[in-house]
Amino acid sequence: MSAPKRSSSFFFLLPLLGFLAIAGFLLKGLWLDPREIPSPLIDKPAPAFRLESLDAPGRVIDSKDMLGKVWLLNTWASWCVSCREEHPVLVDFARTAAVPIVGLNYKDTRVDGMRWLAQFGNPYVVSAFDEAGRVGIDYGVYAVPETFLIDKQGVVRFKQIGPVTPELLHDTLLPLIQRLNA
């Protein structure tokens, strides 16, 4: 009689345990710098890809064409809220023409993606259409937005998880780009 009773009072503890787990994550979350960079791909060759362009089905975009240039690869999607936040920063940055920005439109539809660019502006020299998310997997994209800085030899030099901010551009990316272009 006492054994089932004990096991049933364990069930009553479950909500508390669940809450403690969530509280643990929340506590950790408070001390996290959301802009910190984990770096599995840094200083490794950027995975090559051949994808159709977002605006022109049939036109192929090959990552090899970018060899010899320092460029940014920015993954985005029309359904991504953080991308909305990031987008004006990229649009401004594209005006300075410091580096070409290639978009990787991730797990999206052509219609939504095109509409999004029409609505918020298009900072990309071109957007590759990664409908199935295959290239995203090669690049280890957990979700969007993520941004990669790739050098003339096609090596990833920097990776930003989450939105690109004006501070990041100014303090980190621009000096790095100048060094790589030198």
Binding site: K5, S8, S9, F12, L13, P15, L16, F19, L20, I22, A23, F25, L26, L27, K28, G29, L30, W31, L32, P34, R35, P38, A77, W79, C80, V81, S82, C83, R84, E85, K107, R115, A118, Q119, G121, Y142, A143, V144, P145, I161, G162, P163
Partner: protein, 658 residues
């Protein structure tokens, strides 16, 4: 001087809250009548002090006192009067004061409408609410004081965020908070019952109207928020699964489950453990929502306050309130015992399924909201979980709940007869299938999603009609009118709310299935076909509003050659913000909205224009309002007033014999 009075009343209120949160609860445990008797007057004094503080903030806002930092941040001289009033909750500090104001208002309401409650119970309920109020008071005073001075003052304020300068801003936050915070009453009832060990049908009958009223406010609040996003953000969407939206939606899901669970506890004294747990969850999710929005752990388009110090305070507060109540639950709930037995096919079992499905849905939304944070905590990077996830998990969970909604109300308590229910619902099923096939075919484009949506909506509607008809049928004798008048309001409220769900589903399904969205470049004189209409761009004009300049487009909507309507979308430029605001022009009708908004100029006269046709989109909010009407109907049930009088008599009779 005025802000200092406000500040001082908050401090006095903290002391009162400390008394209210301790003495009556201890008194109830020890049987000290004098300590228990403190609960009512203390809660009323607390309410009065918070009202004084809130009035001080309003006075500072209306007087343009820009030596108060908060006023300088959220207001400006040129701000129209109604937005000066609403600027109260235009920033973090004021929002917290609004939270507290509404909490103390609910506390005051409980102290007034609780004459029928035993004194131990009322002492515990008000005591628990007093403790929550104390937590918020400390939070406001220590980390988010709206009365902080900015000396010397500035000549003019920063202005209210233009996004918030909208009639929606005046009504949406108070409604939402009335709902959110209203669950604190059900929570306090549950904690009081756990402390006292008297979880019974009477307890359920007492907490039911409080839960219903909170749920009704929350429904209206979420509905207003969604409508507001629809017409101000200029994207034409009505729900974005944004963390802040989720924060209001999770308590709604838990609250809906709680209402249904309370019905079982009251009628059959079953599901007690469930009911208590759901009451704790509903309020915990409200608090968690506040934490998520206020601490800045999640980035969102809405979050406007980020400060880790505040986050730590709220987290500790959450730990005490939620952790404490769940610990109390783990300790006391095993002794509660089960209600009456029921069969696998019975109204109880269906309501149990409803509870499980709603709770699972709330858990999925919670997971989706916290998942980015969890990955981040584990060092796996920062991500954003989008609508694809939520749509994929939420719809399959809700579909069975909606199906059961048709059957549940017809099933008998304890043991229902499946063949009998099937026989009663056979024409409802027939009509639903017919509509599910007919509607997509009539609309001209077949879609499984639309067919399923229409099927569920008609199913709910028809089974509700069957249910009502079975009560009114003249074959059983009696006048239909007289029978209708005799139906309990609680029952009618349930039917109304269920019809509201059906209306809501129609809106969601048809707008998802058949909306037409065109983003086009239009020069003066250009036309674009949109659904059954043609839109023609006539030109633009300029002018000024009370505190902004605008550029107004003129569009003529033609149906065939006939001019149906002229629409005027605007771009507004506020002095306080560089980016112009987009004000969409919307022509609403019961069959669908025309939505026009201006994008960017592409040449001297040409613009990128968004022209949308959204069939049945207003049914989404209409459905929510019908649900809320159901809540109001249920609240007007005689039963609550009768039971109040009866228990008052019982108490006084018991007092006389003692």
């Amino acid at each position: 001087m005025i802000p200092e009075i406000g500040n001082f009343s908050l401090m006095v209120a903290t002391a009162v809250a400390l008394v209210l949160g301790t003495l009556p609860i201890v008194g109830a445990a020890r049987g000290n009548v004098r300590w228990m008797a403190l609960a009512r007057p203390a809660s009323r004094v607390l309410f009065l002090l918070v009202v004084v503080a809130a009035s001080c903030l309003w006075a500072s806002l209306l007087h343009d006192d820009f030596s108060v930092e908060y006023v300088a941040t959220v207001s400006a001289r040129a701000l129209p009067l109604q937005y000066k009033v609403a600027a109260f909750w235009g920033g973090h500090e004021g929002s917290m004061l609004l939270w507290l104001l509404i909490l103390s208002f609910w506390m005051f309401a409980v102290s007034v409408f609780s004459t029928h409650l035993p004194r131990e119970m009322i002492a515990r309920i008000l005591g628990v609410m007093g403790l929550i109020a104390m937590g918020f008071l400390l939070f406001i005073i220590l980390t988010s004081n709206p009365f902080g001075r900015l000396l010397p003052g500035v000549p003019d304020g920063n202005d209210l965020n233009p996004l918030l300068q909208d009639p929606g801003m005046v009504a949406h936050p108070p409604m939402l908070y009335m709902g959110y915070v209203g669950f604190s009453v059900a929570f306090a009832f549950a904690i009081a019952a756990l402390l006292g060990g008297n979880l019974d049908a009477t307890w359920a009958r007492w907490s039911r109207p409080w839960t219903t009223v909170a749920w009704t406010f929350l429904t209206v609040g979420i509905c207003l928020g969604s409508a507001w996003a629809y017409y101000t953000l200029g994207w034409g969407g009505w729900w974005f699964w944004d963390p802040v939206e989720n924060a209001s939606f999770m308590p709604w899901l838990a609250g809906t489950a709680l209402m249904h669970s309370l019905a079982v506890t009251e009628k059959r004294s079953g599901f007690k453990v469930w009911t208590v747990l759901l009451a704790i969850f509903a309020f915990s999710l409200s608090l968690l929502g506040t934490f998520l929005v206020r601490s800045g752990v999640l980035t969102s388009v809405h979050a406007f306050a980020s400060d880790p110090r505040r986050g730590v305070f709220i987290l500790i507060f959450l730990g005490v309130v939620i952790g404490g109540s769940l610990a109390l639950f783990a300790w006391r709930a095993p002794k509660v015992g089960l209600g009456e037995r029921f069969e696998i096919v019975s109204r109880e079992s269906m309501l149990l399924a409803n509870n499980v499905l709603f709770l699972a849905a709330a858990a999925c939304v919670l997971l989706g909201t916290l998942y980015p944070l969890m990955l981040d905590s584990l060092g796996l990077g920062k991500i954003s979980v989008g609508p694809p996830y939520f749509d994929a998990v939420f719809v399959p969970l809700m579909a069975p709940a909606l199906f059961l909604m048709g059957i549940g109300p017809l099933a008998r308590w304890r043991k229902a007869n499946l063949p009998e229910i099937a026989a009663r619902l056979k024409w409802a099923a027939g009509v639903s299938v017919l509509c599910a096939v007919a509607v997509p075919l009539l609309e001209g484009r077949w879609s499984v999603m639309v067919a399923c949506g229409v099927l569920l909506a008609t199913w709910i509607f028809c089974s509700t009609v069957v249910n009502l008809w079975s009560r009114l049928r003249p074959a059983d004798g009696g006048q239909i009118g007289a029978k209708f008048a005799a139906l309990p309001r609680g029952y009618l409220g349930m039917l109304t709310a269920h019809v509201g769900v059906a209306v809501f589903i129609v809106g969601v399904t048809l707008v998802k299935g058949y909306e037409v969205e065109k983003d086009v470049r239009m020069d003066v004189g250009d036309t674009v076909a949109i659904g059954p209409y043609t839109a023609r761009f006539v030109g633009t004009s300029e002018g000024s509003g009370p505190n902004y300049l605008y550029l107004r487009g003129q569009f003529e909507m033609l149906r065939g050659d006939k001019l149906v309507r002229t629409m005027f979308p605007e771009k507004r430029k506020f002095a306080s913000k560089d980016e112009p605001m987009t004000n969409a022009a919307i022509a609403p009708s019961i069959g669908g909205d025309l939505y026009v908004s201006m994008g960017e100029p592409v040449s001297q006269t040409a613009w990128v224009v968004r022209v949308y046709y959204k069939p049945f989109v207003d049914w989404i909010w209409g459905g929510c309002l019908v649900m809320a009407c159901g809540g109001v109907l249920a609240l007007s049930d005689r039963r609550y007033r009768l039971s109040q009088r009866r228990s008052a008599e019982e108490v006084s009779a018991a007092g006389a014999t003692a």
